[in-house]
Symmetry: C2
Subunit: 163 residues, 2 copies
DNA sequence: CGCCAAGGGTTGTCCTGTCAACCAATTGGC
DNA sequence: GCCAATTGGTTGACAGGACAACCCTTGGCG
């Protein structure tokens, strides 16, 4: 099969997307680390817990929402537990499962970190876009996620209503 | 200053963007690693060299194009050099600087890896979007990059004409 | 019952990235 | 000319993520 190379329009869109994907995590990470001593990933974990009922989630569910492998999540949660931001306890309904729950200190940490984080998001992502572009970005995101996440593992993150 | 929280439109756009930024690198990395034994970052490095004249670039320039810190690039180039894909030699015009040049084997490797990579990009990113959305994505990317990369360090990657 | 396959997590090892310290060459002021 | 400050790059120690191996529970099914 002959490879179908990229035409100019495709190339322009594509290269910008990689550049954004390459730069964005670094920007978020830096702000959160210097502002709150949290990784962007750690913040995601805490934020997902904070929005769940009982502030509790099974490890597996948490891993899906944050696009983490189970080993990765296990390590991160252990560190968060050492810092007193999260606690783990066996799931009553299923002896195999482990639940992670946000502690009071964890909640406080999220609340403290949120304003600075939102502010960064505004300045770097939301402000430069028009309302129309925001809507376009949503549509584009949905189209891409249908391919990047065919099983809808991260649906709970970006489209809670559908989850 | 009161924090300005996100309205629904902003939130929808934002959450999809993080989800994409979180998923995309993994997808690209997997395909390249299994298909060619290269990291996405390593591929970027080789690709940038392959498009430069003499297939040569100063370490600093290469670091900018790939959004890498100098230490990171230095480590990666050393490994690529060990594998015979790249060679380093002191820059004649500036005794401080080091040039990295793609070897014949490195070129072959890029050529061999490209079709599979392009194919992945098509399937996961380009195909699901309409021509109109590709154009919108370009505009959105430009707006974001103006903030994420104010100094235009990565311009050479996503907009070679302007560099 | 008794097994065995599948599901849910944790642990350990290796590899890669970051940060700080360091060295070498260049530039600029005086 | 010479010394300080800057630029360009490398190295080493440490932290975080991927992968594979492992353990324990649950749920079918004979």
């Amino acid at each position: 099969m002959e490879t179908q190379w990229l035409d100019p329009t495709e190339r322009e869109a594509w290269l910008r997307l990689i550049a954004v994907a390459e730069l964005l995590p670094g920007v978020l990470d830096h702000q959160l680390r210097s502002g709150s001593g949290l990784t962007h990933f750690e913040y995601l974990v805490l934020a997902m817990l904070s929005e769940s009922r009982e502030r509790t989630l099974r490890m597996t569910g948490l891993a899906q929402r944050t696009n983490a492998t189970l080993p990765r999540l296990s390590h991160v949660v252990r560190r968060l537990e050492d810092r007193g931001l999260v606690e783990r306890f066996p799931c009553p309904e299923d002896g195999r499962a482990t639940n992670a729950r946000l502690t009071g200190a964890g909640w406080d940490q999220v609340v403290a970190a949120a304003p600075g984080h939102v502010d960064t998001v505004r300045r770097h992502v939301l402000d430069p876009l028009s309302r129309e572009q925001l809507a376009q970005l949503k549509e584009i995101g949905d189209a891409l996620l249908a391919r990047l996440d065919p099983d809808g593992r991260m649906t709970a993150l970006y489209d809670p209503d559908r989850a």
